[in-house]
Amino acid sequence: MPGHVLPLRIYIGVFLALLALTALTTGVAFIDLGPLNTAAALAIAGVKMLLVVLFFMHARYSSSLVKIVILAGFFWLALLLSFTLTDVESRHWTPAPAPWSAPPQPAPKPVALQPPTRPATP
């Protein structure tokens, strides 16, 4: 039968590691590391996710096709996030205004004074 029967100690070990990492990420949150806080939280969550996927979900022992499917899932999520954030981040980088000097004005020809037309006002 496909599917790999793992010894009990692997499951318990992974479980304890996950609990430890949860405690770690909560603890780290109470220390002010500035922007590092978010990076640490995501890194720890990534490690926990790897543990669950590789051992609890037997991804480590399944066919390479399943591994490719998993990586494709995260790659497409990364596509959505990265392109959207690129746009949001670079939205206020407007290019510098172009230098401009008025073209030489032709000599103003005498114009007959007409009564100003009253524009439509609200």
């Binding site: 318990i12 909560t26 109470f30 609890f56 979900m57 499917v69 998993i70 959505l80 996030l81 949001v88």
Partner: protein
């Protein structure tokens, strides 16, 4: 690649060993098992993209309104968040043990582990409904149901809570569906439908349950710990 069971004529195939659980259109039980687990993995990829839309929106607004999101996340009680994470990791363990018990054809252990998983899942939902969401409702933090926040950054905090309730709500909905599936599995296991030859429904539901755990593993830091608790 389908393992080439000798192509016996179709009619004869019906009469030959054709255990009840092998669907007629599969060549062999291995092909059915692999198809089942590949199907669930592909479904989980669609779930990643389904939650991914919310994560993308969250990332954009966290970038645009950082002070509001930090203030919003400090209004949540991190003790319940951490407790819920531990409960869900526990249920993930019991689910993995259930799959292991099915692989080793231990029916009683299988049923016990499945019931344990359901209990832990129900505990998670219990903590979420009674302690967290009802408190948020009393504190007028639920957008659309009398949201009011006196301090600065009220709109950004309301956006944060929109995301908080959409993400945890969708996750809770997936939990409820998971509990439903577990109930059916317990009923089938109790009637002896599974043995070490046929346990793919257990394996497939296990993948789904572990996925819900992974979603919470990311939700917990993003919602409760964003910007730190100092």
């Amino acid at each position: 690649m389908a393992d080439a069971a000798t192509p016996t004529p179709h009619a004869a195939e019906h009469a030959a060993e054709h255990p009840s659980y092998l669907a007629h259109h599969f060549a062999g039980i291995d092909q059915q098992f692999e198809a089942g687990s590949l199907g669930m993995w592909v479904f989980l990829v669609t779930e990643i993209m389904f939650f991914g839309g919310l994560f993308a929106g969250y990332a954009v607004y966290r970038h645009l309104y950082l002070p509001g999101f930090e203030a919003g996340s400090r209004l949540l009680d991190v003790r319940f968040g951490a407790a819920n994470t531990a409960v869900l990791i526990g249920s993930s363990l019991t689910m993995a043990l259930a799959v292991r018990a099915a692989q080793m054809n231990r029916r009683k252990a299988l049923i016990l582990c499945l019931i344990l998983t359901m209990l832990l899942g129900a505990a998670f939902l219990g903590i979420k409904f009674t302690y967290e969401w009802s408190h948020d409702y009393e504190d007028h933090l639920v957008p659309g149901m009398g949201f009011s926040y006196p301090g600065p950054n009220a709109p950004a905090i309301q956006l944060f809570f929109c995301f908080y309730f959409f993400m945890t709500g969708l996750h809770a909905l997936h939990m409820v569906i998971g509990l439903g599936i577990m109930a059916v599995l317990v009923w089938m296991a109790a009637r002896g439908k599974f043995d070490d030859g046929y346990y793919s429904p257990i394996e497939v539901s296990g993948l789904y349950w572990h996925f819900i755990d992974i979603v919470w593993i990311f939700l917990f830091p993003l919602l409760y710990l964003v910007g730190g608790r100092y």
